[in-house]
Structures are given as C-alpha cells and as structure tokens.
C-alpha cells in the first residue's frame, strides 16, 4: 500500500488528536484519544511485525532444539512458510507454550547445561520484550 502505511496511520492519529479531539468532550473525547494512541501502536508495529515474529520463532526453535537434545525429546518442528501475521502469531504461541514447559523442567534441573539453557531462554525473552516495546509504553 502506498503511501507508506506507518506514515499514513501516524498522520491520521495526529489529525485525530489535533483536529477532532478538541471538538469532543467526556467519554467521546476519551475514545478518540485511545483511538489515536492505538493508531500510533499500529504505525509502530506495521512494518516490523513479520520480521520480528520470524526472528522470534527461529530463536525459540533453536532453544527448543537444545532442550530436545538435552532431554532426548522430539524437536519442536514447525516453520514460517506462511508469512501472514496470524499464522506467524499462531506458530509463535505454539513455540511459547513449548518454551513455558521447557522452562519449568529446566528450573528443576541443577545441571550446568540445563541452567545455561535456562539463562539463554531468559535472555531471549528479554530480547523479545525489548523488541516488542511500543513507543508509548510506560516501561
């Protein structure tokens, strides 16, 4: 889509705030303000969402592969052939579920390989949180 979607959505949010919000009061003004803020978030996410999800999914699969090797369990499998955000998000959820289970197992395993893998998972989760941070976030 041209003009650039992030640019257009951000400008729409700006117009909502500067032109329309002043004409509204109370509950309606609040809904318009939230709408503008949500458009800002869409502008934040639009261009990078697919790249972020694919990177996350690859990183989670690599970590799960290590877990599979450590405990002689099946590898997570899966792929990112379908690049629709909904499909990538569904795969991301599947992998996050497997990561959740692996973390619980690693927490009860004091061996050095297990703790090293747990540290690597924490580092990846911290990276994903920082990459998902929106501009308007309080933290």
């Amino acid at each position: 889509m041209k003009p650039d979607v992030s640019l257009a959505v951000a400008e729409l949010a700006n117009r909502l705030r500067t032109d329309l919000l002043a004409e509204l009061t109370g509950f309606r003004a609040n809904v318009a303000a939230m709408g503008a803020a949500m458009l800002d978030m869409v502008a934040d996410e639009w261009d990078g969402a697919v790249a972020r999800l694919v990177r996350e999914n690859r990183a989670f699969r690599a970590l799960l592969d290590q877990g599979a090797a450590l405990y002689a369990t099946p590898a997570p499998g899966g792929d990112d052939e379908n690049l629709r955000v909904s499909a990538l998000t569904a795969e991301n959820d599947r992998l996050r579920g497997a990561i959740t289970d692996l973390m619980a197992r690693l927490e009860d395993d004091a061996s050095a390989p297990a703790q090293a893998l747990l540290d690597a998972i924490w580092a990846e989760l911290a990276r994903t949180v920082n990459e998902r941070r929106i501009t308007s976030a309080n933290f």
């Binding site: 949500m38 990561i99 927490e107 949180v129």
Partner: protein, 341 residues
C-alpha cells in the same frame, strides 16, 4: 446494551422510591472513568415529605455483560459502605439495583463529588510539577491510613475471608484462575513468575481492607493537590495492605515514562510515605513478593479484556487499548523484578 436515558431513570426511580415525587433527571452523560464498569453522571431532583426538596449530583455505575474485572455492583457498593466513615474519604452510596432487567445490567448510584481532578496524565503537565510531592504525600499516606484501619471495625462480609497466613496464596490462586479462564495464549514470563511466587508466601503483618486498584487516576484531588476521595473499589478485598502499595508502584503505572511511580514519586519515596501513613514497616522481602504478584494480577486483567474481545462478549475500546499498551510492559516489569531484564 440499551442506552440509558433520563426518562428511563425517572420512571425507574418513581417505582423504586414511592415516597419521592416530582423526580427530575437532567444532564445524563457517560464519563471516561472506569475501565471495567460504565460510569455516568446526572443531576437528580425530587421532593418527599420526610426530606423536602432535594437536589443531588449523582454518579451511576452499570455492570456490563462482560468485563476485564470479575466484580459486580454489590461488591463495590458494599466496599464503599464498609470504609465510609472510617477516615478514608469516599463518596456516599445512595442506591443499589441488582436486578439487571431494568437497565441491562445492575446499577449503583452514589454521591458525585464534582469540581475535582482525577487524571493521572495531569501530573505530567509542567504546571502541576510543583504540587507532585504534596499529591504523592496525600496519596500514599491515605493508602497507609487505609492499611491501618482495623478490619474488625469493618463489615467485610461482601468479600472473600482471609487470614494473615493465607491471603498471599489466596490472592495468587484467584488471579491465576482468572488467567486460566481467560487464556489468550502462552505466557512464559508470567508463568515463570507464578512458579517463583509459589515457592514462598509472605505472612501479612496485619489484615486490611485492600482497595485493589489504588493508583494515580483512581482518586479525586483539588487544585491544591489535596486528596478528596478514593474511587473505584470494585476489586476491594480483605488482605495484606502491602498489595495496595505494590500495585501503586508497579512499572506499568509510571505514567510519565520515567522512574516516578504513579507519575508522582520514586519507589523509595512512595514506600516511606506509606510507612508514615500506616505506622508500619514495609518488609522488603514481602513487598518484593507482592510487586511480582501485581504483574500476574495486572496481566490477568489485561488478558481478560482481550478475552472479552476474542469471544465477542464485548467491544469496549479501552479493553483493547489497555491490552495493546500494557501487556508487553507488564512482561518487562516482571523480568525486571525477577532480575532477568
């Protein structure tokens, strides 16, 4: 849900209050307050033999069919009534109607304290900068005073019973059940936080009426920054007063996007003010537990709002907005508290 109208309210009140005559409802409009309940304001006039001519400013809250917080009108109504007259300023309750057939949801009416502010965003306005220390003092010492109110003096029959020993686990169980009931996908960070919390539970120094949502945005203050009333008690319960302190200092409520908690004071300043107001010490280990617990509770609330959308039970913009805005920040806050950021 059907629209609330002045005529519908007049008709309802005439039937509900047979002693009232000449009932007039004017100026009804919805306010941008309360993410979990609809909030309206109106003027009410009536006459009765016992009271003569009456003119009231009224707040109406209505339960929606589905919300991000599993509460109801009676719960909040009784919470207000429980604390009213015990040194914590709150509006007076007027009427509770639990029969949802009248307005497509239970409603409550309360005294409307007008002419004050309640915006957490106003604290970011440079014109208010010099009043922030005073507002912080008002907020956290009031919270401390709430902690100090003896629960034996309050009628807390509206909420789940608790003991000093079981309140931490009971609250965690409650909000984990909410997370499970409103599952919107795996939460590796919050699930790790839950496992960590389950390894040790703090014992409360004393039981208190916990407000459950005591933060900037949920109290009224005047131009001088004096706190005039504490609002939004729908999550009130008997528990450990450190829960309120932990809630108020969580990172997602740093509305200035800096280190000021609730946009008002540093974590250390907030704790000191709370201790001044309560006369208690905030045990660091216990407070740390409650701060991580707050990440679970808040994420459960943001997820419940998302679940309402996902299941088609509601379409309140604020539920989608809050989830988009806060869920990742809540994960980040949990990581920080677990030393993993």
């Amino acid at each position: 849900m059907r629209d609330l109208t002045e005529t519908a309210l007049e008709t309802y009140l005439a039937a509900k209050m047979p002693d009232w005559r000449d009932i007039r409802v004017t100026g009804l409009h919805r306010l941008p307050m309360g993410a979990s309940r609809e909030t309206f304001r109106f003027d009410l006039a009536y006459a009765s033999d016992a009271e003569g001519e009456q003119s009231l400013k009224v707040i109406l809250r209505r339960d929606p069919p589905a919300s991000n917080v599993d509460s109801d009108r009676r719960h909040e109504y009784e919470a207000y009534r429980a604390i009213y007259g015990h040194g914590i300023p709150v509006p007076r309750m007027i009427l509770l109607e639990e029969d949802a057939s009248h307005f497509d949801g239970a409603i409550s009416l309360a005294e409307d304290l007008r002419g004050y502010h309640n915006s957490e965003y106003q604290f970011q306005d440079p014109a208010w900068a010099d009043r922030l220390p005073h507002i912080a003092q008002q907020m956290w010492t009031t919270m401390g005073k709430l902690a100090a109110v003896p629960v034996e003096d309050l009628d807390l029959s509206f909420t789940r019973p608790a003991t000093r020993e079981n309140t931490a686990q009971q609250e965690l169980d409650y909000w984990v059940a909410s997370l499970d009931a409103h599952d919107i996908g795996p939460e590796p960070i919050i699930r790790a936080a839950i496992r960590k919390l389950r390894r040790w539970y703090p014992v409360a120094t004393k039981l208190a009426l916990v407000h459950g949502d005591f933060r900037a945005g949920n109290f009224l203050y005047d131009d001088a920054g004096d706190l005039k009333a504490v609002l939004d008690w729908e999550m009130a319960h008997c528990g450990d007063p450190l829960e309120d302190l932990a809630w108020s200092i969580t990172r997602t409520f740093c509305f200035g996007k800096n280190d000021l908690r609730s946009g008002l004071a540093t974590r250390e300043q907030a704790i000191r003010l709370w201790e001044e107001g309560s006369g208690m010490k905030a045990d660091p280990e216990a407070l740390a537990w409650w701060e991580l617990f707050i990440c679970v509770k808040t994420q459960a609330i943001w997820n419940a709002g998302t679940h309402v959308w996902a299941t088609g039970q509601g379409r309140e913009i604020i539920h989608a907005y809050a989830a988009w805005w806060l869920r990742n920040a809540q994960d980040k806050a949990a990581l920080e508290l677990m030393g993993k950021l």
